[in-house]
Symmetry: C2
Subunit: 404 residues, 2 copies
Amino acid sequence: MSLQGKMLIAQGGGPTAVINQSLVGAVLEARKYPQVTRIYGALNGVSGIINEKFVDLTQETEHNLEMVANTTSSALMSTRDKPDAEYCKKMFEVMRAHDIRYFFYIGGNDSSDTVRIVGEHAKSEGYEMRAVHIPKTIDNDLMVNDHTPGYGSAARFVAQAFMGANLDNRALPGVYIGVVMGRHAGFLTAAAAMAQQFPDDGPHLVYVPERVFDTDKFLADVKKVYDQYGRCVIAVSEGIQDENGVPIITKFADKVEKDAHGNVQLSGSGALGDVLTKHIKDNLNIKRVRADTFGYLQRSFMGCVSEVDQIEAREVGERAAQYAILHNLEGSVTIHRVGDYAVDYQLTDITKIAALTKLMPAEFINEEGNHVTEAFRSYVRPLLGSNMPVAGRLRAPQVEKLVK
Amino acid sequence: MSLQGKMLIAQGGGPTAVINQSLVGAVLEARKYPQVTRIYGALNGVSGIINEKFVDLTQETEHNLEMVANTTSSALMSTRDKPDAEYCKKMFEVMRAHDIRYFFYIGGNDSSDTVRIVGEHAKSEGYEMRAVHIPKTIDNDLMVNDHTPGYGSAARFVAQAFMGANLDNRALPGVYIGVVMGRHAGFLTAAAAMAQQFPDDGPHLVYVPERVFDTDKFLADVKKVYDQYGRCVIAVSEGIQDENGVPIITKFADKVEKDAHGNVQLSGSGALGDVLTKHIKDNLNIKRVRADTFGYLQRSFMGCVSEVDQIEAREVGERAAQYAILHNLEGSVTIHRVGDYAVDYQLTDITKIAALTKLMPAEFINEEGNHVTEAFRSYVRPLLGSNMPVAGRLRAPQVEKLVK
C-alpha cells in the first residue's frame, strides 16, 4: 500500500523547451491516485521550498496544464541554489509540515544530488517520503541516460540555426563562428553537424569541450577549410578549454563572473565569439569573420521543438509519478534506447546520476578532434524529431562566357 | 509588343528567409512568355555580372525551384558590392553581350539604386532593356512600401525569440538584453514587443535607432522596471546612437570595423550587448545581467517563416516579371496595404526608392522612446503569419504557509 499525503513538484537549473511536459506528465498522472491528497508546486525550485512558496496545482485545469506543457522554460520558475546539508534540512522541515509524501524534482545533475540529499535526510529522520528525480538538461550530460529530455529540442534549434548560418555564409562568404552552450559536454555543439546536407555545407569544424582546444591547431583547421571552400563555418562549445583545463574564454576576458556554484559565467556574453574572431583576424588573412553566440535562444525559443523530445519529457514525468505512487519506489527516471528508434524507461539508483557528468564518448568525436563521427549522427538523428527543414540548392549549369 | 531576348536575375545584400520565393516567382512567371529566350541567374549579385558568372536557370526543374523557394538565404548568393558608374558600365556591357533584355535585381535600397543606374545607362546607350527592382530586406526600410518581403519572417523570429527569452528570464530573473539587427530603422527590434501576452511579460523596454539613446535614461528605465517586476527584458537595435549620431557600439569598442560602404560593422559581434551589460552592472545593484546578440539567425534561421511573407515575396517576384515582360514597364515593385489585412502591388518609379531609407513613423514609438505603441502592434501583427506560438502560464493559487 502506498503512502497517503501530498505531492510536491519543482523545477531546477536551466530551463528547456520541454521541461513543462515533465511537470504536466507527473501532475496529471498523480491525479489518478486517491492517496495523493493535494499536488503542490514549489516556485523557484528548492528556494521556493525553504521559503514555503507553494502553489496548489490541484486547482489547475487540465486544459491550462496542456497549454503550459507546450510552453518553453520552467512554468514553476527555477533557481541556481545548490542546497547544502543545512539547506536540505530546512527543505525537509517545510515538507514535513505540509505532509509532503511525494517529492519530484525536475532537473540536471545538481538537482538530482538535491533529491538524493533530501531523500537521505527524510530516511534518517524516519519520515516516510518518496523522492524521485525527473531528468532534464539541454547539455545531455546525465549518466545512465541514453539522452535527456530537453536535449532533442535544443539540438534541433542548433541544427536549424546552423542550416541557416551555413546558407548565409555561402551567400556572403567568410568565416562564421557559432558559439553553442555546453560547459563540459559537447553534445549540443555536436548537433550543429546535422545542418550538413551537401558535401561542402558547414559546419566545417566542430569543437567540443571533451578535446583540448589548441589555438594554433584551430588556425590551421580554419585556414585549410577556407583555402578549400573560400569560406568556413565553425561550431564551438562555450566551454572549450586549453591543455591545462583553463576555459578559452577566461584567457582573454578582462573580468570573469562566477555563479553561485563557483562556475565561470559562459553564457549571456559574446566574449568567446569575439575572442576567436580576433584570433583569426590577427593571424589569417581573412577579412570577413563573424561570430554569433546562440545564448538563451537555444533552450527557450518558442516554436522549435522535437516532438520526440516532447513525448519523452512527458513520459518521464508520468513514469516518475507511477514509480513513486503506484510502485512505492524512489530514484531517478532514466531513458534507455532499446531500438532504432525506440526507448524504454527505468528507475535508477540516484547515486549513479547525482552530481556526475556524462561526456561525449570517444566514438562520437573524429580523430582530429574537430568534428563529429557518423556514429554521433546516427545517435542524434532520431532525437531531432520529424519534419526537419531541408535546404534546396540551385543545380543550374554555368553559362559560357562571351566577354571574358 | 514586348522585347525578345534573355532575362537575368540576381540577389544582392543581406539574405532573408524568403528571398528565394521572389527569385522563383520571377523565374516561373517568366517561363510563360516565349519572347524570353533564356533565363540566367548571376552568381553573387552584381559582382557575378561584371565577372560574367551566370547559371542557366532555364534548365532548373520546377520541383527543385520549389525546394529552393522554401530555403532561406540567397540561392544565387550575394554581394556587398555597391556599383559606381564605371562598375555599372561594365555590368551593362556584359548584359548587352548576352542579349539580356530583362534585368531583375532582388535587394534593398542599395540594390534598387544599382537597378536605377544600370537602367539609365542602358537608356543612354540606346539599348532596349527593362530593369526591375524586386524588394527585400529584413530591415523593412524601403520607401513607398507598406512593408518589405523578408521583414515578416525576421519579425516572427524576433518575436518568438523574445517569447522564449521572457519565459527564461521569468524562471531565472535578472536583466536580459537581446540585441536585434537594424542600423537605421527599428522595425525589426520593435517586433520584439509581439512577445508580450501577459501584462508583466517582456520585453519591458524597446530601444530603436529612431530615438536618441541616452545611457542615463536607459539606466533609469531599467531600474524602474526591475524595481517593479524584479526582472527586466530589453530589446535594443544594434544601431542605437547618442545625441550626436554616434553609434553606442563605437563609444566603447576598441576597434571598429567598416564594410565596403563605409558602414561600421554592427553584426557578427557581441560588443553592444556586452557594453550595455557592463553599463548596468557598473551602475545598478543588479547581479544577473545577460545579453544575447541574435545575429545572423534572424535572417536565415531555417524553420521559422511567416507564410504571409512567403506569399508576398513570391508575388513581388511574379509581378516583377509581369510588369517587365507582359506590360513592357520598369521600376520597383512595391507593396501597399489596402485592407486589414490585404495588400496590392504597384510598379513605382525607382527614384522614389533608390538609396533612400524609411524609418519608423512617430506613431509607432511611445512618447518616452522606450517601447512601441498599439499602432505598431496593429501594423505588424498580420505580417507575422498564422499559428504564432502561445505561452501558457500556471494559474494555481498560493498555498497558505504553515512553518513561518
